[in-house]
């Protein structure tokens, strides 16, 4: 069975299993980014979060990010899993794992991936505060998309 590198799941994410997906004999560095549900944001307390995705397109966009990364950092291998549904404080929402022969590319490609997820992957977060709830808009505050659409290639 071909291992899926880009997934949207509804269950807790198995971090070591994701790391395993990018492990290679030629890789000396693996970076991971683990995005967790934070309790406090600018003085406001989150009780829980709800994530929704346009699943097939979200997976497709993660593969677009993979292609972009392969062009910029040719020796890297990347895997991403994003969880959706209801998540509590400290639950893991997203994990990105990148392997590379050398560490610099593993850091850079990983950070690039999370930035791009926040730009082009159709996943939405609903904050449930103590006193209300709201679907969050673009967290990058580049409202809306200046060029009329998210930049897919640079």
């Amino acid at each position: 069975m071909k291992e899926e590198l880009f997934l949207i799941v509804e269950e807790p994410i198995d971090v070591p299993a994701l790391v395993k997906k990018v492990e290679r004999r030629e890789a000396g560095a693996i970076t991971t980014f683990i995005g967790t549900v934070r309790e406090w944001t600018k003085g406001k307390r989150t009780v829980y979060l709800e994530y929704q995705a346009y699943k097939p397109m979200a997976v497709k966009m993660m593969k677009v990010i993979d292609q972009e990364i392969k062009e910029k950092w040719p020796d890297t291998k990347i895997a991403i899993t994003h969880r959706i549904g209801q998540l509590d404080i400290t639950d893991i929402a997203v994990v990105i794992a990148v392997s590379s022969p050398h560490r610099k590319a593993a850091y850079e490609a990983n950070e690039y991936a999370i930035e791009r997820i926040k730009q082009i992957v159709p996943i939405w977060k609903k904050e449930h505060w103590e006193d209300g709830q709201t679907w969050l808009g673009d967290q990058l505050e580049t409202v809306p998309y200046p060029s009329g659409k998210p930049i897919i290639k640079e």
């Binding site: 082009i120 939405w124 977060k125 967290q139 409202v143």
Partner: protein
């Protein structure tokens, strides 16, 4: 007839996760105008349109059978 998928606050505003509209062969821009004027959708400026799971330009044409989705600013990660 085209099917339009809704997400996040759009889904809650509409009370359902898709719309079926008697439209076709219109541009993305025309679709957004129609949604704003005839269906009272607000903040259409901030909404991206995807056709068949790809972000579409405002001049792209929506045809019979296309899967159209309204994509509010994303907030994953």
């Amino acid at each position: 007839m085209i099917t339009i998928l809704l997400f996040a606050h759009l889904q809650e505003e509409a009370g359902k996760d898709y719309l079926e509209l008697p439209l076709e062969n219109i541009t993305v821009e025309e679709l957004k105008k129609t949604l704003k004027n005839d269906y009272s959708f607000t903040q259409m400026d901030q909404i991206m349109v995807a056709i068949n799971e790809e972000f579409a330009l405002s001049t792209d044409i929506i045809k019979q059978g296309d899967t159209v989705a309204l994509i509010p600013p994303v907030s994953g990660g």
